[in-house]
């Protein structure tokens, strides 16, 4: 894992001191609310429906046991004993008090964490493949480059007041687990014909009220040019991005209005002006950062995994959990363990302080002291020996963390929605809770197979509804909650934006509608076909007819 150097420590500590001073000036009345608001937002502190909300950055989702223990401590001491892991691989606390936040940030700084750039019109927390460094299909660990981008973008003076927020994702594998095509900049590692590894650069993707799939502006960017090229993109956006209309301020609108080719030309022009300068990434620097992400000391002669095989045969629940939650690590004898934060009937992405402590202990014992937060709001232990898997599962089970549903119907992405969020029009979490209760039977879940149900409580799409196989968008109709359903979205390399299926459903009816869609799929699927495959084969008509009756001709 990356460890702070003296610069990181200084930046974070100075920010804690500054914010302490700003809070005290606000409380004394020296700062008005108008003056204070942008300052608190720069430190990730929002005012939501019931209370302040603090968003803490987890760079590319990676945490040590010590860090997640601190997150547990913060949940207990400053909040209500739980935290909410987000689709940006961060954690949010829903109940901190303004007066406590300086101490909270000081506690975070003691474990090399902060809330800088988790809000505001700046470059936000860089996200990466949650399987980085352990996936058997990757070219390189994407976190090396996510960390390099983090260092470059942290307090970057030129990019602190962009037209709008800016999100970057990095994937080192052809299987896209980081939704790079739905980011302002998506970096997809590629190999050129000479076998060199670099990046395909995609720009202008995003969800929100105008969902757009990112377009490639460069097929292959050598690693050494990564930062100068990013700087060129940001500079063009900063100069030309719209500041007159918040809904048209994201780079996706600029790319769309300018046209991909022209936008790419503008970037290349700026890049040619600045490349080869101070932003050049030298091999030594890449290797220095790479060393922080070196593979752990795996057991090179793994013990035979007979015990693990026996346990799978003997214990049906364990076998089911292995099938849905564990994938192979590139290191033989090891697995990547996905820990679901989506037990039936619970809020997706929530973890209690006690559960976070359990996760810290288990990461220490079973996974070289390291955890990852996924953009699907789950937790990953990347380096677990198969021989220890049964013992790990038993301990997870005891902590309510052994739900076997990764990638299945109850593994729902949901934003905080109207239960917490100031922007929301409708509740998300209770809809997710009701769906996960409806589909709680493990046999039923397995039969349905891979299914992404994503729920957003408003058009800002924090719950990624545009890219769900089944997307649910909460809308307000004269003070009442309604839910519009989209089908066929896909955040991966098979990228697609979901299609609106018809009129919205009421809060009471939306879960039945989801059940009807799933039942329709089960009726018309061919053997082993996933929902996405069935959708691509049959399109909207059968689903529409089941939901709304046959179309009138």
């Amino acid at each position: 894992m990356y460890r702070y150097d003296e610069f990181d420590h200084t930046i974070v500590q100075e920010r804690v001191d500054q914010f302490r001073d700003q809070v005290s000036r606000r409380v004394s009345g020296e700062l008005t609310e108008e003056e204070f608001r942008p300052l608190r937002l720069m430190n990730g502190l929002y005012l939501q429906l019931h209370a302040y909300m603090l968003r803490v950055a987890i760079p590319y989702g990676t945490l040590s046991s010590k860090q997640i223990r601190m997150l547990a401590h913060i949940a207990r001491r400053y909040d209500r004993g739980y935290g909410h892991f987000t689709t940006r691989q961060n954690i949010q606390y829903n109940w901190p008090k303004l007066e406590d936040v300086p101490d909270l940030l000081a506690d975070l700084a003691s474990v090399e964490m902060h809330a800088i750039q988790t809000s505001g019109n700046c470059i936000r927390n860089v996200t990466a493949d949650a399987y980085a460094g352990v996936a058997d299909d990757e070219l390189e660990d994407s976190r090396i480059y996510a960390e390099i981008i983090r260092q470059w973008s942290t307090l970057h003076p030129e990019f602190s007041f962009l037209p709008r927020k800016f999100k970057i994702a990095v994937s080192g594998a052809p299987t896209d687990r980081a939704a790079v095509r739905f980011h302002d900049i998506g970096l997809q590692m590629r190999q050129n014909i000479r076998g060199e590894v670099g990046f395909e650069v995609l720009v202008g993707g995003g969800q929100g009220r105008t969902p757009i799939i990112a377009e490639t502006i460069r097929d292959f960017l050598p690693k050494q040019d990564l930062l100068s090229y990013l700087e060129a993109i940001l500079r063009v956006y900063n100069m030309l991005g719209r500041r007159d209309n918040i809904y048209k301020a994201r780079i996706k609108i600029l790319v769309k209005e300018t046209g991909r080719d022209k936008f790419a030309a503008l970037v290349e022009e700026e890049w040619n002006r600045i490349r080869g300068g101070a932003l050049d990434l030298h091999k030594d620097e890449i290797n220095r950062i790479r060393s922080y992400f070196a593979p752990p000391l795996y057991e090179l002669t793994p013990e035979p995994d007979t015990d693990y095989q026996i346990a799978r045969r003997a214990d049906r629940d364990f076998d089911r959990w292995c099938a849905s939650n564990v994938v192979s690590n590139k290191q033989p004898g090891y697995g990547i363990v996905n820990i679901s934060l989506k037990p039936a009937g619970m809020a997706p992405g929530d973890a209690t302080a006690d559960q976070m402590d359990v996760l810290a202990d288990l990461a220490e014992t079973y996974s070289f002291d390291e955890l990852r937060v996924t953009h699907k709001q789950n937790i990953v232990l990347g380096h677990v020996r198969l021989v220890g898997l049964h013992a790990l599962w038993q301990q997870l089970d005891a902590a309510g963390l052994a739900t076997a549903n990764i990638g299945l119907a109850s593994d729902i992405i949901a934003c905080p929605g109207l239960d917490y969020c100031n922007l929301a029009n409708a509740r998300s979490i209770p809809v997710a809770q009701r769906i996960s209760e409806r589909f709680a039977n493990p046999d039923q879940l397995a039969r349905i197979g891979a299914l992404r149900i994503n729920i957003s409580g408003c058009i800002n799409a924090c719950g990624h509804h545009h890219v769900g196989d089944i997307g649910i968008l909460g809308v307000d109709r004269r003070g009442e909650e309604f839910y519009q359903i989209t089908l066929g979205g896909d955040p991966t390399e098979n990228v697609a934006i979901g299609e609106v299926i018809g009129p919205a459903f009421s809060y009471d009816d939306v879960v039945d509608a989801v059940e009807t869609i799933i039942a329709t799929y089960e009726t018309i699927r061919t053997i082993d076909e996933t929902f996405a495959q069935t959708w691509r084969r049959v399109g909207v008509t059968p689903f529409k007819e089941k939901l709304y009756g046959p179309a009138r001709h």
Binding site: E33, L47, Q48, K97, A347
Partner: protein
């Protein structure tokens, strides 16, 4: 009486969040702020609304509350009830777990 000539005024209360705690409050008697909606001052006409908005702005200036605004309520047996779902949830806390609500964990 014809609706055209009747002055219709939706009954309102003024709400805000406390600056220090961030908790939801309602303007109550004597320019105080109360966590209980039942204790909120009921606003029945434009004059009262103007007056209380002014009091609320003073509370912002003096650093007591943040972002005050008026919400429409109906008056029932249990006192004022917000008309919108948003304000119902603000008044009673998240609907997802009883122990997450303000009422369940007052001023922890």
């Amino acid at each position: 009486m014809s609706k055209k000539t009747e002055q219709i005024f939706d009954t309102k209360v003024v709400t805000a969040n406390m600056l220090l705690g961030g908790n939801v409050v309602y303007m109550a008697t004597g320019s105080s702020w109360d966590e209980k909606l039942a204790n909120a001052l009921i606003i029945k006409n434009d004059d009262a609304l103007t007056r209380l908005n002014k009091v609320a702005q003073e509370a912002v200036t003096s650093g007591i509350v943040v972002g005050p605004y008026a919400i429409a309520v109906k008056i029932g047996f249990a006192g004022p009830q917000p008309l919108s779902k948003r304000e119902q949830i603000r008044a009673t806390g998240p609907t997802i777990r009883a122990d997450y609500s303000e009422q369940a964990v007052p001023n922890v």
